[in-house]
Amino acid sequence: MALRGNLRDFTVTQLLNLINLAHKTGSLVIEGPNETARIAFRDGKLSYAQIGQEDNHLATILHRSNHLTSGQLRAIQLRAAHVSDKELGLMLINVGYITQDVILNALQSYFMDVVRRLFTWVEGVFRFENDMLPPEDRIAVRLDLENLIIEGARQLREWEQLQDEIPSLDMALKFIERPGTSMQKMNLSVEEWRVVSYINPRNTIQQIAAAAKMSDLEIRRIVYGLLQAGLVEVIRHESMAAAAEQARPQLTVKVREEQKSLVNRLITRIRSI
Protein backbone atom coordinates (compact mmCIF):
# COMPACT_ATOMS: atom_id res chain seq x y z
CA MET A 1 0.00 0.00 0.00
CA ALA A 2 1.35 3.41 -0.94
CA LEU A 3 2.53 5.41 2.01
CA ARG A 4 0.84 8.72 1.39
CA GLY A 5 -1.44 11.08 3.26
CA ASN A 6 -1.90 14.44 4.91
CA LEU A 7 0.18 16.04 7.66
CA ARG A 8 -3.02 16.76 9.54
CA ASP A 9 -3.29 13.01 10.10
CA PHE A 10 0.37 12.09 10.48
CA THR A 11 3.05 14.35 11.85
CA VAL A 12 6.55 14.37 10.44
CA THR A 13 7.77 12.80 13.68
CA GLN A 14 5.35 9.92 13.29
CA LEU A 15 6.47 9.39 9.69
CA LEU A 16 10.12 9.29 10.69
CA ASN A 17 9.27 6.75 13.36
CA LEU A 18 7.51 4.56 10.82
CA ILE A 19 10.36 4.78 8.34
CA ASN A 20 12.87 3.97 11.09
CA LEU A 21 10.96 0.93 12.39
CA ALA A 22 10.26 -0.39 8.88
CA HIS A 23 13.87 0.14 7.75
CA LYS A 24 12.57 1.79 4.63
CA THR A 25 14.65 2.78 1.62
CA GLY A 26 13.40 5.56 -0.62
CA SER A 27 12.39 9.19 -0.29
CA LEU A 28 9.73 10.94 1.74
CA VAL A 29 8.36 13.84 -0.29
CA ILE A 30 6.38 16.45 1.64
CA GLU A 31 4.53 19.17 -0.24
CA GLY A 32 3.93 22.10 2.08
CA PRO A 33 1.98 25.27 1.36
CA ASN A 34 5.06 27.14 0.14
CA GLU A 35 7.68 24.55 -0.82
CA THR A 36 8.43 20.88 -1.15
CA ALA A 37 10.85 18.89 0.96
CA ARG A 38 12.52 15.62 0.11
CA ILE A 39 14.20 13.34 2.64
CA ALA A 40 15.97 10.19 1.48
CA PHE A 41 16.50 7.08 3.60
CA ARG A 42 18.41 3.86 3.30
CA ASP A 43 17.39 0.99 5.56
CA GLY A 44 15.57 3.42 7.80
CA LYS A 45 18.50 5.76 8.24
CA LEU A 46 18.60 9.34 7.00
CA SER A 47 20.83 9.71 3.96
CA TYR A 48 19.91 13.02 2.34
CA ALA A 49 17.57 15.97 2.75
CA GLN A 50 16.53 18.93 0.64
CA ILE A 51 14.01 21.68 1.19
CA GLY A 52 12.59 23.78 -1.63
CA GLN A 53 15.20 25.21 -3.97
CA GLU A 54 17.69 25.80 -1.19
CA ASP A 55 21.26 25.39 -2.35
CA ASN A 56 22.60 22.28 -0.64
CA HIS A 57 25.74 21.70 -2.65
CA LEU A 58 28.68 20.53 -0.61
CA ALA A 59 30.57 23.79 -1.07
CA THR A 60 27.63 25.84 0.21
CA ILE A 61 27.18 23.57 3.21
CA LEU A 62 30.89 23.79 4.05
CA HIS A 63 30.70 27.57 3.76
CA ARG A 64 27.71 27.72 6.11
CA SER A 65 29.60 25.64 8.64
CA ASN A 66 32.60 27.97 8.35
CA HIS A 67 34.89 25.46 6.68
CA LEU A 68 35.11 27.51 3.49
CA THR A 69 35.43 31.26 3.25
CA SER A 70 33.17 33.31 1.00
CA GLY A 71 36.05 33.75 -1.42
CA GLN A 72 36.70 30.03 -1.57
CA LEU A 73 33.02 29.33 -2.15
CA ARG A 74 32.90 31.82 -5.01
CA ALA A 75 36.01 30.32 -6.57
CA ILE A 76 34.55 26.82 -6.42
CA GLN A 77 31.24 28.01 -7.85
CA LEU A 78 33.05 29.71 -10.71
CA ARG A 79 35.67 27.14 -11.59
CA ALA A 80 34.23 23.89 -10.37
CA ALA A 81 30.53 24.28 -11.06
CA HIS A 82 30.49 21.08 -13.14
CA VAL A 83 32.16 19.00 -10.42
CA SER A 84 29.93 16.71 -8.38
CA ASP A 85 29.90 16.87 -4.58
CA LYS A 86 31.69 13.54 -4.42
CA GLU A 87 34.48 14.74 -6.69
CA LEU A 88 34.75 18.02 -4.85
CA GLY A 89 34.93 16.25 -1.51
CA LEU A 90 37.69 13.95 -2.77
CA MET A 91 39.64 16.89 -4.15
CA LEU A 92 39.45 18.77 -0.86
CA ILE A 93 40.50 15.67 1.07
CA ASN A 94 43.35 14.86 -1.31
CA VAL A 95 44.89 18.31 -1.02
CA GLY A 96 44.72 18.02 2.73
CA TYR A 97 42.36 20.96 3.16
CA ILE A 98 39.65 19.04 4.94
CA THR A 99 39.02 15.56 6.32
CA GLN A 100 36.30 13.10 5.48
CA ASP A 101 34.93 13.39 9.01
CA VAL A 102 34.53 17.12 8.68
CA ILE A 103 32.63 16.72 5.42
CA LEU A 104 30.33 14.06 6.82
CA ASN A 105 29.69 16.04 10.03
CA ALA A 106 28.84 19.17 8.06
CA LEU A 107 26.44 17.25 5.82
CA GLN A 108 24.81 15.44 8.73
CA SER A 109 24.37 18.67 10.62
CA TYR A 110 22.76 20.32 7.59
CA PHE A 111 20.41 17.41 6.85
CA MET A 112 19.34 17.26 10.50
CA ASP A 113 18.64 20.96 10.41
CA VAL A 114 16.40 20.48 7.36
CA VAL A 115 14.45 17.77 9.16
CA ARG A 116 14.10 19.99 12.24
CA ARG A 117 12.53 22.70 10.10
CA LEU A 118 9.99 20.17 8.87
CA PHE A 119 8.82 19.54 12.44
CA THR A 120 6.99 22.87 12.28
CA TRP A 121 5.10 21.90 9.10
CA VAL A 122 1.52 21.15 10.04
CA GLU A 123 -0.07 21.64 6.62
CA GLY A 124 0.73 19.58 3.54
CA VAL A 125 0.63 16.19 1.89
CA PHE A 126 3.25 13.49 1.89
CA ARG A 127 4.15 10.39 -0.07
CA PHE A 128 6.93 7.85 0.17
CA GLU A 129 8.64 6.99 -3.10
CA ASN A 130 10.35 3.63 -2.81
CA ASP A 131 12.51 4.11 -5.89
CA MET A 132 13.63 7.65 -5.27
CA LEU A 133 17.24 7.75 -4.08
CA PRO A 134 19.49 10.74 -3.38
CA PRO A 135 20.80 12.55 -6.45
CA GLU A 136 23.81 10.78 -7.97
CA ASP A 137 26.10 13.76 -7.66
CA ARG A 138 25.50 14.24 -3.94
CA ILE A 139 27.07 12.59 -0.94
CA ALA A 140 24.75 10.41 1.09
CA VAL A 141 25.21 9.98 4.82
CA ARG A 142 23.93 7.39 7.25
CA LEU A 143 22.25 8.90 10.28
CA ASP A 144 20.21 7.19 12.97
CA LEU A 145 16.77 8.70 13.37
CA GLU A 146 16.11 8.01 17.04
CA ASN A 147 17.46 11.28 18.40
CA LEU A 148 15.70 13.29 15.73
CA ILE A 149 12.45 11.53 16.52
CA ILE A 150 12.77 12.35 20.22
CA GLU A 151 13.56 15.95 19.34
CA GLY A 152 10.56 16.09 17.02
CA ALA A 153 8.25 14.75 19.70
CA ARG A 154 9.54 17.32 22.17
CA GLN A 155 9.04 20.11 19.67
CA LEU A 156 5.53 18.93 18.92
CA ARG A 157 4.62 19.10 22.60
CA GLU A 158 6.14 22.56 22.79
CA TRP A 159 4.21 23.62 19.69
CA GLU A 160 0.93 22.42 21.18
CA GLN A 161 1.65 24.18 24.45
CA LEU A 162 2.58 27.42 22.68
CA GLN A 163 -0.60 27.26 20.65
CA ASP A 164 -2.60 26.94 23.86
CA GLU A 165 -0.81 29.92 25.38
CA ILE A 166 -0.95 32.09 22.26
CA PRO A 167 -3.86 30.78 20.22
CA SER A 168 -4.02 33.69 17.80
CA LEU A 169 -1.33 35.70 16.08
CA ASP A 170 -3.88 38.36 15.16
CA MET A 171 -3.55 39.86 18.61
CA ALA A 172 -1.16 42.67 19.42
CA LEU A 173 1.37 43.25 22.17
CA LYS A 174 1.86 46.11 24.57
CA PHE A 175 4.63 46.84 27.06
CA ILE A 176 3.51 46.49 30.65
CA GLU A 177 4.09 49.82 32.35
CA ARG A 178 4.28 49.99 36.09
CA PRO A 179 4.18 53.61 37.27
CA GLY A 180 6.39 54.39 40.21
CA THR A 181 8.80 51.54 39.74
CA SER A 182 12.38 52.14 38.80
CA MET A 183 14.30 50.44 36.12
CA GLN A 184 13.88 46.90 35.00
CA LYS A 185 16.76 45.08 33.44
CA MET A 186 16.34 43.84 29.90
CA ASN A 187 18.79 41.15 28.94
CA LEU A 188 17.41 39.52 25.83
CA SER A 189 18.55 37.36 22.99
CA VAL A 190 19.22 38.86 19.59
CA GLU A 191 15.93 37.55 18.24
CA GLU A 192 14.02 38.82 21.26
CA TRP A 193 15.47 42.30 20.71
CA ARG A 194 14.36 42.10 17.11
CA VAL A 195 10.78 41.40 18.21
CA VAL A 196 10.86 44.05 20.95
CA SER A 197 11.72 46.74 18.42
CA TYR A 198 8.40 46.13 16.65
CA ILE A 199 6.10 45.97 19.66
CA ASN A 200 3.22 48.42 19.79
CA PRO A 201 -0.56 48.01 19.93
CA ARG A 202 -1.03 48.61 16.23
CA ASN A 203 1.12 45.69 15.11
CA THR A 204 -0.24 42.18 15.25
CA ILE A 205 2.03 39.36 16.32
CA GLN A 206 1.67 38.02 12.78
CA GLN A 207 2.94 41.30 11.34
CA ILE A 208 5.88 41.29 13.72
CA ALA A 209 6.70 37.73 12.67
CA ALA A 210 6.64 38.71 9.00
CA ALA A 211 8.84 41.74 9.56
CA ALA A 212 11.29 39.77 11.68
CA LYS A 213 11.21 36.84 9.23
CA MET A 214 10.13 34.35 11.87
CA SER A 215 8.00 31.25 11.68
CA ASP A 216 4.84 30.81 13.74
CA LEU A 217 6.72 28.61 16.16
CA GLU A 218 9.61 31.03 16.59
CA ILE A 219 7.43 34.07 17.21
CA ARG A 220 5.21 32.19 19.65
CA ARG A 221 8.26 31.00 21.54
CA ILE A 222 9.66 34.49 21.84
CA VAL A 223 6.34 36.13 22.74
CA TYR A 224 5.72 33.41 25.33
CA GLY A 225 9.09 34.21 26.89
CA LEU A 226 8.31 37.93 27.01
CA LEU A 227 4.89 37.20 28.52
CA GLN A 228 6.38 34.97 31.18
CA ALA A 229 8.96 37.63 32.02
CA GLY A 230 6.17 40.14 32.60
CA LEU A 231 7.48 42.52 29.97
CA VAL A 232 4.48 42.55 27.66
CA GLU A 233 0.82 41.67 27.56
CA VAL A 234 -1.40 40.48 24.75
CA ILE A 235 -4.12 42.92 23.77
CA ARG A 236 -6.77 43.18 21.13
CA HIS A 237 -5.36 44.54 17.93
CA GLU A 238 -6.83 47.78 16.62
CA SER A 239 -8.30 46.47 13.37
CA MET A 240 -8.36 49.84 11.64
CA ALA A 241 -4.62 50.02 11.75
CA ALA A 242 -4.30 46.39 10.74
CA ALA A 243 -6.40 46.93 7.65
CA ALA A 244 -4.28 49.85 6.52
CA GLU A 245 -0.87 48.40 7.33
CA GLN A 246 1.50 46.30 5.23
CA ALA A 247 2.92 43.08 6.70
CA ARG A 248 6.14 44.93 7.63
CA PRO A 249 5.39 47.32 10.47
CA GLN A 250 8.81 48.92 10.18
CA LEU A 251 9.28 52.18 8.48
CA THR A 252 9.39 51.70 4.72
CA VAL A 253 8.63 55.26 3.63
CA LYS A 254 9.41 55.66 -0.03
CA VAL A 255 8.27 59.14 -0.77
CA ARG A 256 10.76 61.85 0.15
CA GLU A 257 8.07 64.23 1.34
CA GLU A 258 6.65 61.57 3.63
CA GLN A 259 10.11 61.00 5.06
CA LYS A 260 10.62 64.68 5.70
CA SER A 261 7.22 64.95 7.29
CA LEU A 262 8.08 62.08 9.58
CA VAL A 263 11.33 63.70 10.66
CA ASN A 264 9.54 66.98 11.28
CA ARG A 265 7.04 65.18 13.49
CA LEU A 266 9.94 63.72 15.44
CA ILE A 267 11.49 67.16 15.81
CA THR A 268 8.23 68.60 17.11
CA ARG A 269 7.87 65.80 19.60
CA ILE A 270 11.45 66.00 20.89
CA ARG A 271 11.07 69.77 21.38
CA SER A 272 8.02 69.16 23.51
CA ILE A 273 9.76 66.81 25.95
Partner: protein, 180 residues
Amino acid sequence: MQTVKMVVTGPFSAGKTQFIRSVSEIDVVATERKISSAGERAIKQQTTVAMDFGRITVDEDLVLYLFGTPGQKRFDFMWEILSEGMLGFIVMIDSTRPETFREARSILETFHAYAPTPYVVAANKQDASDAWELDDMRHALRLSPQVKLLPCVATQKTTVKNVLLELLYSILAEMEGGPK
Protein backbone atom coordinates in the same frame (compact mmCIF):
# COMPACT_ATOMS: atom_id res chain seq x y z
CA MET B 1 1.97 52.32 13.10
CA GLN B 2 5.48 53.20 12.10
CA THR B 3 8.46 52.54 14.28
CA VAL B 4 11.73 54.33 13.76
CA LYS B 5 15.00 53.79 15.53
CA MET B 6 17.97 55.75 16.66
CA VAL B 7 20.99 54.15 18.22
CA VAL B 8 23.24 55.52 20.92
CA THR B 9 26.65 53.97 20.97
CA GLY B 10 30.04 54.69 22.44
CA PRO B 11 32.66 53.31 24.82
CA PHE B 12 31.76 51.63 28.05
CA SER B 13 30.45 54.05 30.69
CA ALA B 14 30.22 57.01 28.31
CA GLY B 15 26.71 57.81 29.52
CA LYS B 16 24.48 55.99 27.04
CA THR B 17 22.13 54.62 29.69
CA GLN B 18 21.60 58.00 31.31
CA PHE B 19 21.14 59.68 27.92
CA ILE B 20 18.27 57.39 27.00
CA ARG B 21 16.81 57.50 30.47
CA SER B 22 16.61 61.29 30.32
CA VAL B 23 14.10 61.34 27.47
CA SER B 24 12.51 57.91 27.45
CA GLU B 25 8.90 57.63 28.52
CA ILE B 26 9.40 54.12 29.81
CA ASP B 27 11.87 53.11 32.47
CA VAL B 28 13.13 50.03 30.75
CA VAL B 29 16.86 50.19 30.63
CA ALA B 30 19.64 47.71 31.02
CA THR B 31 23.06 48.20 32.38
CA GLU B 32 25.83 47.41 29.98
CA ARG B 33 27.95 44.47 31.02
CA LYS B 34 31.45 43.71 29.96
CA ILE B 35 31.09 40.39 28.25
CA SER B 36 34.42 38.72 28.19
CA SER B 37 33.80 35.34 26.60
CA ALA B 38 35.42 34.60 23.28
CA GLY B 39 33.74 33.07 20.28
CA GLU B 40 30.52 34.98 20.77
CA ARG B 41 29.76 35.23 17.13
CA ALA B 42 29.92 31.50 16.73
CA ILE B 43 27.11 31.10 19.22
CA LYS B 44 25.28 34.36 18.60
CA GLN B 45 21.92 32.64 18.49
CA GLN B 46 22.24 31.70 22.13
CA THR B 47 24.02 34.86 23.20
CA THR B 48 22.02 37.38 25.15
CA VAL B 49 22.83 41.03 24.88
CA ALA B 50 22.04 43.60 27.51
CA MET B 51 21.11 46.86 25.84
CA ASP B 52 19.56 50.11 26.86
CA PHE B 53 16.13 50.57 25.44
CA GLY B 54 13.91 53.61 25.49
CA ARG B 55 10.79 54.79 23.73
CA ILE B 56 9.28 58.10 22.72
CA THR B 57 5.75 58.03 21.39
CA VAL B 58 5.40 60.77 18.83
CA ASP B 59 1.73 60.30 18.09
CA GLU B 60 -0.70 57.47 17.54
CA ASP B 61 1.00 56.59 14.26
CA LEU B 62 4.67 56.97 15.10
CA VAL B 63 7.01 55.65 17.77
CA LEU B 64 10.71 56.34 18.16
CA TYR B 65 12.81 53.64 19.77
CA LEU B 66 16.20 54.45 21.26
CA PHE B 67 18.71 51.64 21.53
CA GLY B 68 21.88 51.97 23.55
CA THR B 69 24.26 49.43 22.18
CA PRO B 70 27.75 48.43 23.24
CA GLY B 71 30.22 49.85 20.78
CA GLN B 72 32.70 47.00 20.69
CA LYS B 73 33.20 45.34 17.33
CA ARG B 74 32.20 41.96 18.67
CA PHE B 75 28.65 43.25 19.02
CA ASP B 76 28.46 44.32 15.40
CA PHE B 77 26.06 41.46 14.69
CA MET B 78 23.45 43.52 16.56
CA TRP B 79 23.87 46.24 13.99
CA GLU B 80 22.44 44.09 11.27
CA ILE B 81 19.25 44.12 13.28
CA LEU B 82 19.37 47.66 14.55
CA SER B 83 20.41 49.23 11.26
CA GLU B 84 17.17 48.18 9.60
CA GLY B 85 15.15 51.36 9.50
CA MET B 86 17.67 53.25 11.65
CA LEU B 87 17.38 56.97 11.11
CA GLY B 88 20.76 57.82 12.53
CA PHE B 89 23.06 57.29 15.47
CA ILE B 90 24.79 59.12 18.26
CA VAL B 91 28.30 58.41 19.47
CA MET B 92 28.63 59.26 23.16
CA ILE B 93 32.03 60.08 24.54
CA ASP B 94 33.03 60.79 28.11
CA SER B 95 34.77 64.18 27.96
CA THR B 96 36.67 63.45 31.16
CA ARG B 97 38.26 60.23 29.97
CA PRO B 98 40.65 60.91 27.12
CA GLU B 99 41.86 57.32 27.36
CA THR B 100 38.57 56.36 25.69
CA PHE B 101 38.91 58.75 22.76
CA ARG B 102 40.78 56.28 20.58
CA GLU B 103 38.16 53.61 21.19
CA ALA B 104 35.44 56.14 20.42
CA ARG B 105 37.16 57.00 17.15
CA SER B 106 37.31 53.33 16.23
CA ILE B 107 33.64 52.81 17.09
CA LEU B 108 32.65 55.79 15.00
CA GLU B 109 34.57 54.59 11.96
CA THR B 110 33.26 51.07 12.27
CA PHE B 111 29.63 52.06 12.64
CA HIS B 112 29.75 54.66 9.91
CA ALA B 113 31.20 52.08 7.55
CA TYR B 114 28.48 49.64 8.50
CA ALA B 115 25.56 52.07 8.35
CA PRO B 116 26.23 55.28 6.42
CA THR B 117 23.38 57.19 8.03
CA PRO B 118 23.70 60.64 9.62
CA TYR B 119 25.30 60.77 13.02
CA VAL B 120 26.43 63.22 15.66
CA VAL B 121 29.03 62.97 18.40
CA ALA B 122 27.98 63.90 21.92
CA ALA B 123 30.68 65.02 24.31
CA ASN B 124 29.20 63.97 27.61
CA LYS B 125 29.95 65.22 31.13
CA GLN B 126 30.77 68.69 29.89
CA ASP B 127 29.76 69.98 33.33
CA ALA B 128 32.75 68.29 34.94
CA SER B 129 35.76 70.40 35.85
CA ASP B 130 38.16 68.07 34.08
CA ALA B 131 36.14 67.81 30.88
CA TRP B 132 38.05 68.48 27.70
CA GLU B 133 37.12 71.49 25.61
CA LEU B 134 35.15 70.67 22.48
CA ASP B 135 37.78 72.07 20.13
CA ASP B 136 40.46 69.92 21.75
CA MET B 137 38.22 66.88 21.54
CA ARG B 138 37.58 67.51 17.87
CA HIS B 139 41.29 67.46 17.20
CA ALA B 140 41.89 64.43 19.39
CA LEU B 141 39.10 62.53 17.66
CA ARG B 142 40.17 63.78 14.23
CA LEU B 143 36.62 64.77 13.42
CA SER B 144 36.05 66.58 10.17
CA PRO B 145 34.48 70.04 10.42
CA GLN B 146 31.22 68.73 8.99
CA VAL B 147 30.70 66.34 11.89
CA LYS B 148 28.64 67.82 14.68
CA LEU B 149 30.35 67.60 18.07
CA LEU B 150 27.82 68.61 20.67
CA PRO B 151 28.13 69.37 24.37
CA CYS B 152 26.06 67.09 26.52
CA VAL B 153 25.28 66.42 30.14
CA ALA B 154 23.27 63.22 29.99
CA THR B 155 21.50 63.95 33.27
CA GLN B 156 20.16 67.22 31.87
CA LYS B 157 17.20 66.73 29.60
CA THR B 158 17.77 69.98 27.71
CA THR B 159 21.19 68.95 26.42
CA VAL B 160 19.96 65.46 25.57
CA LYS B 161 17.08 66.96 23.60
CA ASN B 162 19.53 69.20 21.80
CA VAL B 163 21.65 66.25 20.71
CA LEU B 164 18.59 64.42 19.39
CA LEU B 165 17.37 67.51 17.61
CA GLU B 166 20.72 68.17 15.98
CA LEU B 167 20.75 64.61 14.70
CA LEU B 168 17.24 65.07 13.31
CA TYR B 169 18.29 68.32 11.65
CA SER B 170 21.18 66.47 10.03
CA ILE B 171 18.81 63.77 8.81
CA LEU B 172 16.48 66.39 7.40
CA ALA B 173 19.33 68.19 5.71
CA GLU B 174 20.47 65.01 4.04
CA MET B 175 16.96 64.36 2.80
CA GLU B 176 16.85 67.83 1.35
CA GLY B 177 19.87 67.24 -0.75
CA GLY B 178 23.11 66.66 1.02
CA PRO B 179 24.60 66.93 4.48
CA LYS B 180 25.18 70.36 5.99
